[in-house]
């Protein structure tokens, strides 16, 4: 039997607003996934280290303060550097349309903006992720 999809929900940078990340974490748990939440103020290095040790299938990055380009691209860079395979990365929070395309080019599979439902995130993950 396949293990449940394992997700790391991470907040990078200095932003301290947790509502979205926590609500998504609880929602994905109720959708049958195993969710590790990192809390706030993580560096990209800490996020990638956690993702590797936890051997997650998914990383969900949350940002509301606008620092997403620098922080998320550093995460993607580190994942490549550490040769981490088989991890789908998605993002959520306040991310302007123009940046969405840039993030997708970096390898972030989907960006869930304000008003996104847990149901849509869960569905997206179930469709696109095969757990390890």
């Amino acid at each position: 039997m396949r293990r449940p999809i394992k997700v790391l929900i991470a907040k990078a940078g200095l932003d301290g607003h947790e509502r979205g990340a926590l609500v998504v974490a609880m929602g994905l748990r109720d959708a049958g996934m195993e969710v590790v939440y990192t809390g706030i103020r993580n560096t990209p290095e800490q996020i990638v280290a956690a993702a590797v040790q936890e051997d997650v299938d998914v990383i969900g990055l949350s940002s509301l303060s606008g620092g997403h380009m620098a922080q998320f691209s550093r995460v993607m860079e580190l994942l490549k550097k550490e040769k981490v395979k088989g991890v789908l990365v998605f993002a959520g929070g306040i991310i302007p349309d123009e940046d969405v395309k840039k993030l997708q080019k970096l390898g972030i599979k989907e960006v869930f903006g304000p008003g996104s439902t847990i149901a849509s995130i869960a569905e997206f993950l179930k469709k696109n992720v095969r757990s390890k």
């Binding site: 940078g13 200095l14 932003d15 301290g16 607003h17 947790e18 509502r19 926590l22 609500v23 974490a25 609880m26 929602g27 939440y37 809390g39 706030i40 103020r41 303060s65 606008g66 620092g67 997403h68 380009m69 620098a70 922080q71 306040i94 302007p96 349309d97 903006g113 304000p114 008003g115 439902t117 847990i118 149901a119």
Partner: protein, 502 residues
């Protein structure tokens, strides 16, 4: 027709803290603003003041709020994003260039680094030749909610409360027109708590701060009149009006009965309101103008002393000049055209509003009792009780929205296929490198011996029990930076480590 049992301007102030309310003086129209550079902020302030805004409200970037200079590695990607980057007196002087500090009142949304930013403001006033007794404004200075709903904490609770009391004590003597704490429920509400919880958790924070100052030896009536509050105004129109009334009544009783205040001004809950950011949608953004209008109206009918109205594009990014102006006009139309200002608490006496007020009063009391049983708000926060309450409420709300038990127009009902692309205010990518250069130049230019001396004194006094405000003012005068000050304080006080989870 029977006379209502409560009167505006009379204890317990349910119906308003002044007898005539807006008939005598309108609420302060105070729009939160600030982004990128000090120069841009200065320009935006001058613009808003010229358009009729009556008070300034300062937003700082996260590094400033969390005690990092713009060139600190921890600041990467965050400089100038959610507010203005202030690392030294040079930046602060630029923000208020041409803005006389005896003619405006400035509210600063700053918490962990409140004493430092206040010191900077006072140093600017000094340079302008404005005596501190003529300076007026507010620092938010409310650390408890940071630990659970906003995240810009630095130090652990005990030293943080010491710093808060330092500000209160110092201003009581030297800066008498300054509001030293703005106890906030806005953020906890944004994080997901209910209206009753917003009242209870906010007042509980207030109780903790008053208690701290009383324990320091300050007389309640000497500082309590300068404690202000900051509430959310959410979408349930009638409930929000009742919420403000219940909060006023509760606080009056708390101050008189629990703390023995004698001065009526200690018992008056004065508050600033911001319309709820979390009710704004990215979908069909024009709808947000309507939402903000209703929320602003509720705050006015609820008797707020000061109001910020959100701009319609705030679900996406910091507001453009056009949408910021419209937000201000919203308040002006309510103030000058709607007629609701002619009578204080115009909905008082309405069967439903009085009932809602009593209900919220009772529910909030239950929470306050629970918090007392836990040993006070500090313990309630540290134990994770408040955190769990807030985020579980947030999750319930999300589930209700996804089940369509709660409708959000344009989001889960009445959606449109057309996707609107908004013109959003972009952040300058050259900002960070520029800041690094400016700070490097500043550090070279100043008198480093004086800087070192100030930092040494700061460390010594931080380890002791002196009021730190004087050394902070002296430090910023000599262009010691925010980050340098916080490095010393972090070393002395330690850093708070958040351990909360659901």
């Amino acid at each position: 027709m029977t006379e209502p049992r409560e009167q505006p301007g009379k204890f317990p102030f349910t119906r308003g803290i002044h007898a005539t309310m807006y008939r005598g003086k309108l609420w302060t129209m105070r729009q939160y603003a600030g982004f990128g550079t000090a120069r841009e902020t200065n320009r935006r302030y001058k613009y808003l003041l010229s358009q009729g805004q009556t008070g300034l409200s300062m937003a700082f970037d996260l590094p400033t709020q969390i005690g990092y200079d713009s060139d600190d590695p921890m600041a990467l990607g965050e400089v100038g994003r959610v507010g203005v980057a202030i690392s030294s007196l040079a930046d602060m002087e630029q923000v208020f260039d041409g803005i006389p500090l005896d003619k405006v009142s400035t509210s600063m949304t700053i918490n962990a680094t409140a004493p430092i930013l206040l010191a900077l403001y006072l140093a600017v006033a000094e340079k302008q030749g404005v005596p501190w007794s003529k300076v007026s404004g507010t620092v938010q200075n409310d650390i408890l909610k940071e630990y659970i709903a906003r995240g810009t904490y630095i130090f652990p609770p005990k030293p943080s409360l010491r710093l808060i009391a330092d500000v209160v004590e110092f201003c009581a003597k030297e800066v008498s027109n300054w509001n030293t704490i703005s106890v906030g429920g806005y953020h906890m509400r944004e994080a997901g708590c209910t209206a009753a919880q917003e009242i209870a958790f906010t007042l509980a924070d207030g109780i903790a701060y008053v208690q701290t100052c009383v324990e320091r030896g300050l007389a309640v009536d000497d500082f309590a009149p300068r404690i202000a509050f900051f509430f959310n105004c959410h979408s349930n129109f009638l409930e929000e009006i009742a919420k403000f009334r219940a909060a006023r009544r509760l606080w009056a009783h708390i101050m008189r009965d629990r703390f023995g205040a004698k001065n009526e001004r200690s018992m008056m809950l004065r508050f600033h309101t911001q319309t709820a950011g979390s009710t704004l949608t990215a979908q069909q953004p024009d709808n947000n103008v309507v939402r903000t209008t209703l929320e602003a109206l509720a705050a006015v009918l609820g008797g707020t002393q000061s109001l910020h109205t959100n701009s319609k594009d705030e679900a996406i990014a910091l507001p453009t000049e056009e949408s910021a102006l419209l937000a201000l006009r919203t308040q002006q139309i309510i103030a000058y055209e709607s007629g609701v200002t002619t009578e204080p608490d115009p909905l008082g006496g309405s069967y439903y509003i009085e009932r809602l007020t009593d209900e919220l009063d009772a529910k909030a009391r239950e929470y306050l009792n629970k918090i007392d049983n836990l040993g006070g708000m500090l313990k309630a926060v540290e134990s994770g009780y408040v955190y769990k309450e807030i985020y579980r409420a947030a999750y319930e709300h999300q589930k209700a929205v996804e089940r369509k038990e709660k409708i959000i127009v344009g989001v889960n009902e009445f959606v449109s296929d057309r996707k609107l692309v908004l013109k959003t205010q972009k952040s300058d990518p050259k900002l960070e490198p520029r800041r690094r250069r400016d700070l490097a130049a500043l550090r070279k230019k100043r008198d480093f011996a004086k800087v070192e001396k100030c930092l040494a004194t700061l460390e010594k006094e931080a380890k002791g029990s002196e009021n730190l405000m004087p050394i902070l003012v002296e430090s910023v005068r000599n262009y010691v930076t925010v980050g340098e000050i916080c490095k010393v304080l972090r070393g002395t006080f330690g850093e708070y480590r958040s351990t909360h989870s659901i």
